[in-house]
Subunit: 436 residues, 4 copies
């Protein structure tokens, strides 16, 4: 992922330094387990651990060795042997590169999931705070981008909260999917490695042993992980799209915070554009696009091939860094979002009361009108307001068929906003577990 | 989905008849709840239920009405009113089309998931049976499609079992994702509908109430559902690809069952082609391709738009019917798969013992050779066998450096197949919960 | 594709009847060529042609045979033999099923492309007509959905015209990609079939001979075809999205035509929703989603496998029928689109003249102000209008720094709309080849 | 794209230095045109050109300014003003950031296409050389990975040549798609910029003027570009998959070149794995995955939004660098591919002559047997060879029904390989334009 969309915490997980450190941890934990079983001298395990813990792995040196051997794990092991000395001969016995690479990838994906969870927590906190702040800030609800019936801005945010709470649960499940270690040796038969080594290493790294692997950890796990990130990114897109709509000139109910020094359009200085939300829309497309190659990675040939590797070297960092950046940006955006209740009220009033049409329809049928007649009565008055403006209530009062069925006072009562919002507490209770 | 890949059980879920029946159930359950609350006369609810239960909804008639109204739910309600009579005026009060459509879609996706679970159960049973049958059928394990080390055909199937057991868990989670009902009225505020109605209908249909909806059930749920089907389809592709590889002329370790009347190539009558597995590969691509539009569906505008509808009308049936067909075909394929242990042994022997090279390498280092020297010794002999054929063991016995480190007897012991398969029981225990 | 999104013309191309008719044509043309070369008796070719031309192929009968043979081409040939009699033994000699299936698929894709071209022509004609109709209908141009500078509705449509003119050129190229016939026999070596037969059949069907095939026509051709449909669908989405934006309540500059009998929301009868455009948005997602599996189809194994087949049986009809429906719907939508110039003018005036800010900025720098000072002067006045409303011109006249640089009269001239639209003729000339 | 898959030539196109240099060229060419028209002093244009040509743009300084202004083009212009001095005030007049960004992106995509074309030329040359080298190297053709009929390795490569020749034509078309410049100002109306400026800049950069833009160049062009790269990547996957199949242990007809120092498996030193081809398979998935977000980028809102930007900042480099690496690697792989004609012959003989079965079938029907009888006769003998081994010709000679129809001598003639390869010259003529 390019630096522009990269936060250092997530980038650190994918750095060569982190990777080599994790590789070392895996080898050292494996050696500990082998020593415990009696396969290698305890002293060798101790020496390797001690020297490796103190060492700073030299990325440039490892790269140099790799240029010759064309094999990254061998390059690392060669470098490690330079550091550790003769005891290095006990390292990696019975293991394959995949044991190291795949278990390391699990550690990285788990750590990435933890960071993303923290991002989601910040976003959820912001959504909850702003939802309560605007619990009773009335605004128009829109279907098909056409005014429908009143709602509140808090309800909109509560909806987003519920969606990202689901995202958090999905992310947890995705994390569990990939939280396995495999040290099963060539073609996964444990011929040259004791299964207890795998169990020890897994436990030490906070992972579970992979029940059965074929030298590689099965890639359906990773496909599920990236598909889940894709779904979460799609939820980011939904909220970003909502903000973009609400910020458009004709609506202007919210605005992204616009800092002092920031310049908008180079040509049109007055413009305040929802560029962060637009950026999130694009990032969502990018994260989502990693799901397809991750799914294509599942069907490796026989016990394994290496076609997944180039894909994962790219989408591993790209999807997690991109989503981390997006979630973090979205969290800040919600925290600082400028909300304009007056504009919301102004837009709500724009249709001259048409938003109450369904309620009138209901009242007319309840008063005994046939559904068809009631529909016709509402529609003829509604259409006049829609096309020529005016006040829906006034027109209804002047419609003989309507007033024959419902009194003026009852008609007026039908235009009460409170009617629409009486279940706000219930919705908040459902989402946040409390109505206040 | 085209008839060729459609099984009647899954097709039935998506038929117009099923859809209208579910719509009726939702309306009737809602009426029951309204009657209980006292919003409509209990008698009306009873009459609607009674007449609707007996009725056969006339798809052609509904289509005819829809051609005029251009609205499918209104068309259905009009037809329902024809059946029910005057009590029909109590139906659908305070509801929107989305309440009906989305809750119906949930019911259909849940039923589809249940069928897919049954497919997986059959496949899992077949994999388990065949895995135990071939638990000790030795074959070569391959990495990069190159012979690596021995494994058993049972282990291969155990691996597939573990993968589809994960698929089953994922499917269950996906089912839970979409198992919600929403009857929340326009823009989801429950202004015209009591939340208790939603609770009653959800319970009656085996669903949960959607905590907060915006007239529509949030589409991140459906995105997760289809993404999960995509991952499962990718696992189908993996197993199908394995079979295709094993059936190729030069390998011929397994064959798809070939029934008597069946004709292979029109031109080459002797050919037995793995056409079922190839077909599964294609179907996997199709199912997988529904994940992307499902993710694009998430970002509906404001409280809802209808852009998701055309997508779901197509991918709802396509993905579930396609995957049902694929899983069912794969189940039958595994049940009837022809397995050729002799061919497996023949292939295993093909490399003249090279598959034991790692074990020799390990023994040499354990005997005190440096890693580099051991690697060189193994490689020079291995390369000769690889390039000119011959017997690896014989060459090793003739290599001074090797025999200086390891005795002939020890060398011979290194070529024991049992060494590679000693953990088969442990793998089976991990996968099936028992070693026998 | 489901009937709801299927037009009969395109469906006919994919019907079993069409398919069998094309298969017959291929076999009959091949027989003609073989007769000409002297490989089969001319009389046989004549008899087959005569009887086949008259025959109506019995789809149910062919299906019945296929259920036994599990091979569609053999089933057809068996049925054809029933019709033709003993001369049938000359049919299909040296050919493989792929020769028939792939050449038939080419014919179908070419015919589909021709229909889509006709759809595009209708859409282009509508766009051109409406563009000229509204060439000078001023409206606000928006970047980031924020008012930017004036444009005209005709320019918007001209832009769409240019985009669909590109779509037409791309479609033509995609048509040429797949317009090849292959009758090259097993593994494509022409061992059993004379290359002249391929040349004859290709010419007779309006195709080119595939220069080299491997029993199958290479699937990169088809991938390019479906990818192109995906790009065209994305252009459909762009125009549909524009209409959806312009129809939203707060904008209301255009509306989809709303026929008399049509019902909108079942709950809110006044609503006129851009449901056609939303539907197009969804269809675009569906068509686009066929590109990925088409690309995955390219890497068939060795000379061919059949994994592409299930994919193509579905996406062949789906993508072409879906896009045909979408383009046709979009054509009608543009033809009948309701355009509200008054609303456009009202929206244009909404920002109190801020849309002229860039021009003021330019004038100030041209009058000698530094870019930074000019930017600051424009922004302080613009921000006041943006936040509190008011008239931008009046504020500028009251700003000492501004009037020190530019006279009042010059300021007023900067607010002339004609300034923005002076190149409309040039744009139309570029797009339509003439300025009038 | 990560360094591992990046070649310096392609990386250079996407470096900040290149980007700023192109930005400068656009601004300087625009200034030239304005000077020519008389909008700015000729001296100003001269000074800017002179100072800019000499300058090295300071990426760190520009980044620093961007951190404050949060706008990359403004940051660059500020830095440029520091270099140029007071004449800088004439730069960028009437232009928007998009004019610079989009035209720059066109230049980069065109340059990338030129590099990719060179990659394809190298690959095509290698394919042609190796195709002629192995024009008559007989090998078995396989359908469904099952032996079918003989072909030659040269024909396989000729097929790949034809596919990549198509790729080259498609790439050229994609290059033309994006080879446009837009300098049309805010919302694309040329209000503040003379169309002649666009024409001049386009010509100077080797581009065409975009006929109509809306501040941005329409994104259907870019979607087509990336979709085309996706199709080309799929062709890379096809050839890589072929090599992977041919290198598998049981086939071993080809091998990737394996350099001296290179290490294969860390565990199994004898193994020569087709890791380059596997890597290409993964890279193909990555490149292909950029098509979907590129298509989603098309539907920008109104005259433009910036959601495409984050997508393109990533996929622009990723797709072109990834494909450049893949094509270059594939070129080298073909140049150095080890081909084993003996193994090809050995595999060809493996089926005991069954590969001639179709020819026998044809001879029997030509000798007057009914298709059904001939099919049965061939199949019963073929099946025996298939299942129990043995020699197909010998069995046929012992089959009474067969010898009643065809003489022994004629049967023997049917087993002549030359029969299958008689059209090799014709195929080469078709592909390479000459039979020699």
């Amino acid at each position: 992922m390019i630096p522009r969309y990269t936060r250092p915490e997530m980038a650190a997980i994918w750095s060569p330094e982190s990777r080599f450190r994790i590789w070392f941890e895996i080898e050292a934990h494996a050696l500990d387990a082998m020593a415990e079983i009696g396969m290698v001298p305890a002293e060798a395990a101790r020496v390797v651990r001690e020297r490796g813990d103190k060492a700073v792995f030299d990325v440039a040196r490892i790269d140099e060795i790799e240029r010759e051997t064309r094999h990254d794990v061998i390059a690392f092991l060669t470098h490690l042997a330079e550091i550790v000395g003769p005891e290095a001969r006990f390292i990696h016995q019975g293991l394959t590169s995949s044991d190291i690479l795949d278990t390391c990838f699990s550690v990285q994906l788990v750590r990435a999931a933890d960071l993303l969870t923290a991002d989601l927590d910040r976003l959820l906190a912001a959504l909850k705070t702003r939802a309560y702040e605007h619990k009773d800030t009335v605004c128009i609800g829109r279907s098909h981008a056409i005014h429908a019936e009143p709602t509140t801005f808090g309800i909109k945010l509560a909806y987003a909260f519920a969606e990202f709470a689901r995202a958090r649960r999905r992310l947890h499940a995705a994390r569990e999917e990939v939280a396995t270690a495999a040290l099963s040796g060539a073609v996964g038969t444990f011929a040259n490695i004791d299964p207890r080594v795998e169990e020890h290493v897994a436990r030490a790294l906070g992972l579970r042993p992979e029940p059965i692997s074929t030298q590689v950890i099965p890639r359906d796990r990773h496909a599920m992980y990236f598909a889940t990130l894709g779904v979460i990114a799609s939820s980011v897109e939904r909220l970003a799209t909502e903000i973009r709509h609400l910020q458009r000139t004709e609506v202007r109910e919210v605005e992204e915070f616009f800092s002092k020094g920031q310049k908008g359009s180079s040509a049109m200085p007055h413009k305040r554009n929802p560029v962060l939300s637009e950026n999130l829309t694009g990032l969502a497309r990018l994260v989502r696009a990693t799901a397809a190659p991750a799914m294509e990675n599942v069907a490796l040939w026989h016990e394994r091939d290496i076609s997944h590797s180039s894909v994962e070297r790219v989408i591993g960092p790209d999807a997690t860094i991109g989503l981390d950046f997006a979630l973090s940006r979205l969290g800040g955006l919600i925290e600082n979002l400028l909300v304009y209740p007056d504009a919301m009220q102004r837009n709500l009033d724009q249709l001259g009361g048409l938003v109450h049409s369904q309620r009138v329809l209901l009242a007319l049928t309840q008063a005994g009108m046939s559904r068809e007649d009631a529909y016709a009565a509402v529609q003829r008055n509604a259409m006049q307001v829609w096309e020529q403006g005016g006040d829906f209530l006034a027109l209804l009062k002047a419609d003989d068929a309507v007033v024959a069925a419902v009194t003026e006072a009852d008609l007026e009562a039908l235009f009460d906003l409170g009617y629409h919002l009486k279940n706000t507490d219930e919705l908040f209770r459902r989402v946040f577990g409390t109505g206040n």
